[in-house]
């Protein structure tokens, strides 16, 4: 038997990614698990607040398909953006810029996940939910990633629609149609997205400038971005209260959403008045809490209904 010393002497020790191949964890990283968790949660809320009943297994499959489709879209996004990810500090440690995963493999992996999730959704749930899922994935990959992201400062305003679909897809899975409350949930996430991403873009401005991504702060400047962030939070305020009047939220939701949305507006005002990027960073973190808390309030309302 060869001893360890002779093996070590005979073989190279530096792990060149191309020679050892990717780890399973590298593929998981391609799915953007943190983004996926919020997508899954918003889908779960859509599933719970929709009127009607869905078999637990079919409910699980709905959420699984939303997660797989979001993950697959993220992998294709990373494949397409691997050139700019390499120059941005925030993204340069991703598997593709580091050469840990072959780009072609990442594309095939993402494409297979999108195709598989849509097929499974069609098989398990039905045509409408599957079509919405395919549309959301296609919108994220083709409209946002390939078309808008590098061309217009409105990239995340329009592209943000892709991330707003999960509650609507889940709603369609339960009810077989798309009703007004599902559209309102879509609109809440749609109008939440710009201030969320622009808060990030404000304190990552250098990154986006270096990569040549025309984010609003890069093209129109910080002042204009901050004003637009405030406008979006003001539009979001009444929208966030709407579920209370559409039968999916109640008094607890109304009070909670009022407080959360007021704080979001206050965050935007602080960002507007702040010359540094400190409040932008705080607003980015608050925006994550805001959406999670707002959706959680809908779950609380559902629990209260069941309990009552």
């Amino acid at each position: 038997m060869k001893d360890v010393a002779s093996t070590l002497a005979a073989e190279p020790l530096i792990l060149d990614y191309a020679s050892v191949g990717p780890r399973v964890g590298d593929y998981i990283e391609l799915l953007k698990p943190r983004v996926m968790s919020l997508v899954v949660f918003s889908g779960f809320v859509g599933l719970m607040v929709a009127p009607g009943h869905i078999h637990p297994l079919l409910g699980f499959v709905t959420i699984l398909c939303i997660a797989l489709s979001a993950g697959g879209s993220a992998a294709v996004n990373m494949w397409y953006d691997r050139d700019i990810d390499r120059v941005m500090v925030r993204t340069q440690r991703r598997p593709l810029p580091q050469g840990r995963v072959d780009p072609q493999a990442a594309l095939e992996f993402g494409g297979a996940m999108i195709f598989g999730s849509v097929a499974l959704m069609w098989l398990a749930i039905g045509g409408l939910a599957a079509c919405l899922l395919a549309f959301a994935a296609g919108f994220y990959v083709f409209v946002y990633t390939m078309w808008l992201k590098r061309r217009t400062p409105q990239n995340i305003v329009i592209g943000g629609a892709a991330g707003a679909f999960p509650p609507m897809i889940a709603w369609a899975a339960v009810t077989g149609n798309v009703a007004l409350p599902a559209v309102v949930l879509f609109l809440i996430i749609f109008f939440w997205t710009p201030p969320h991403f622009w808060a990030l873009a404000l304190y990552r401005n250098d990154d986006y400038t270096r990569a040549g991504v025309p984010m609003l702060p890069v093209i129109r400047g910080e002042r204009r971005t901050k004003i637009e962030m405030l406008v979006y939070t003001l539009i979001l305020f009444p929208l966030s209260l709407a579920p209370a009047f559409l039968g999916i939220g109640g008094m607890v939701y109304l009070i909670g959403a009022s407080i959360l949305s007021s704080l979001f507006v206050i965050c935007a005002v602080r960002v507007l008045r702040d010359k540094t990027h400190r409040s932008a960073k705080q607003m980015f973190l608050y925006s994550l809490f805001y959406l999670t808390a707002l959706l959680s309030l809908l779950l609380v309302e559902q629990a209260l209904k069941v309990w009552a």
């Binding site: 093996t7 070590l8 005979a10 073989e11 190279p12 020790l13 792990l15 060149d16 020679s19 050892v20 191949g21 990717p22 780890r23 399973v24 078999h55 297994l57 079919l58 499959v61 699984l64 598989g116 499974l120 098989l123 398990a124």
Partner: protein
Amino acid sequence: MSEPNQIPVSTERRRRQRTRNLALFFVLLAFVVLVYGITITKIKLGYGS
């Protein structure tokens, strides 16, 4: 003194290949079980009847 991460490339390549194969196997297995479960559930719920 040897570094703790001094692993021959061939050993690491084999280890990663084995893990990837295993992960793929479990993903495919889960898919088959899921499709089976969905089919049974839909039959029980009366779809297609």
